[in-house]
Symmetry: C2
Amino acid sequence: MALTGFLVRGLHCYRKNSCLKTNSVCFLQTFSPIFQLEEYGKLLSGSDIAEKIQTSLCDQVQKFKLHHSCFTPQLAIVQVGARKDSNTYIRMKMKAAEKIGIIATHFCLPSTTNQTELLKTISHLNLNPSVHGIIVQMPLDSANMIDSTLITDSVIPNKDVDGLNTINQGKLAVGDLASGFLPCTPNGCMELIRRTGILIEGSKAVVVGRSKIVGTPTAELLKWHNATVTICHSKTKNLPEVIADADILVVGIGQPNMVKGDWIKPGAVVIDCGINSLPDTKRSTGYRLVGDVDFEKARKRASWITPVPGGVGPMTVTMLMKNTVFAALKSTLGNKV
Amino acid sequence: MALTGFLVRGLHCYRKNSCLKTNSVCFLQTFSPIFQLEEYGKLLSGSDIAEKIQTSLCDQVQKFKLHHSCFTPQLAIVQVGARKDSNTYIRMKMKAAEKIGIIATHFCLPSTTNQTELLKTISHLNLNPSVHGIIVQMPLDSANMIDSTLITDSVIPNKDVDGLNTINQGKLAVGDLASGFLPCTPNGCMELIRRTGILIEGSKAVVVGRSKIVGTPTAELLKWHNATVTICHSKTKNLPEVIADADILVVGIGQPNMVKGDWIKPGAVVIDCGINSLPDTKRSTGYRLVGDVDFEKARKRASWITPVPGGVGPMTVTMLMKNTVFAALKSTLGNKV
């Protein structure tokens, strides 16, 4: 892409979206492309966008309550064991739920829980009409062998606010984006991409990673938003060459800083779904979180890039809340939603 | 790809596969690349491969009968109305079934059939333990509005030998290729590709078309066979440029001769899923069938290419039979299959 094109698109994005952070307040007055590339504001803050969406969801819930006083969206979060990272994610979900007006209940089962017991818990929640959404926190921290796909699929489709059971994956694959729930991380990525203002239709999108949680459904979503999508994985040859062609790049592979800055096409939108912990003696925690993309170098080429943390993570939580509110509305209003 | 590479791969393919037709019997003795390109045998005959697989399935059924005398795979083909093309396809399926030793029963419902009646028919077949596979012939030729997805999904997953219901699509999307049924046309494409001897892992595959029957599941299969897959559609820009990069090209868009010969990468494997009727006064029928790829020009660049007719079509029918035999074996032996 010519540099001019990149800059024009960049300006377009900035004008349309108030949630996009910029480091350069006066780039409209500069004319040196190099200067602009270095100075161009391109931080795509998931935290800011998530906050706005959560505020909007809160308003929606409050307004709906005016006419349906009993309306209270309820989310059941089922956890087996006590993995530290799971505890952190669950806390984030509980906090977001509280802010919006969703009752989130944490079902914390011991690590001795077996498959039958877990299925029984989910079955009770499936049958409970006041519970609108169920999420089983993965990975399971159990002393017993539990089939995680069986567990995910045991959540009935109309409470599968995580959007990860097989029926919802199938719907997404064939382009039915309306009747099920969209999976949270991929839907969060799409929301971030949309807010940059880039024209998804006709763009070249590259998704690195084919996991059932991130890569596969994100590629499907981009395809049904009319991007030409290439999906890459561990067996892909010449990954830098494939990435160099991407107008939109989504990475979800769990390898710290694996995608180098100079692989990025100038002007690309980069969404980093990775969240990896690296030792860091300079920090009190002893570690720092980084994504799958070498952020500092990539931001010099990308038009917009998500930070880690504060990029995709908050959007995932927010999309879970959006699905829960939608499930509750659907349960109350039926097909009128 | 260098011409040498193409030729080496071509030879490799020829040696490994007896089902591949060649127009040139003495290419091993020629050394002019141009001459070889023009003369190289590269017809990937679905008819021949299908015949061999059907013979093998027939043997399998007969052998199994020696120990389980009551074993008879049964396939129910449900049709609404009487579309001419559907009648032709059903005849092909009945003929293949008979050859293999599958009892295929044609349930021909009038075009006045409504959704409830059709669902009732499928429900009976779902409950009938002697029926192992059910296929509803699409498109439905009904005077009434019928939701075709609802119909496809009403076939219980363990009889969905068409592999097209939402659960089977979901399984395929996330890489579970074993517990459900693979959709017939995509699975036939994979069988054809495998028989060329090309190394799928690490190859660049381009799928043109994103239909739920052909493009989407074929892209998923290629992805889970470790190709780097790009999926193109009506909104793709610079289609010739994308196709020019494909080691494996699968086209399923229903547009006669849409993909031009000079778009093909020299040495590519080309699978044409299109079947289009063009007026032809020279033929007694008044028409001829052509694919989505300009066959005559493409065969000069491809290493292997499927003809239309006689390419993907017979493989689709054969994969349906394979799924039906598998369903019957599974029903008889349970998880031991």
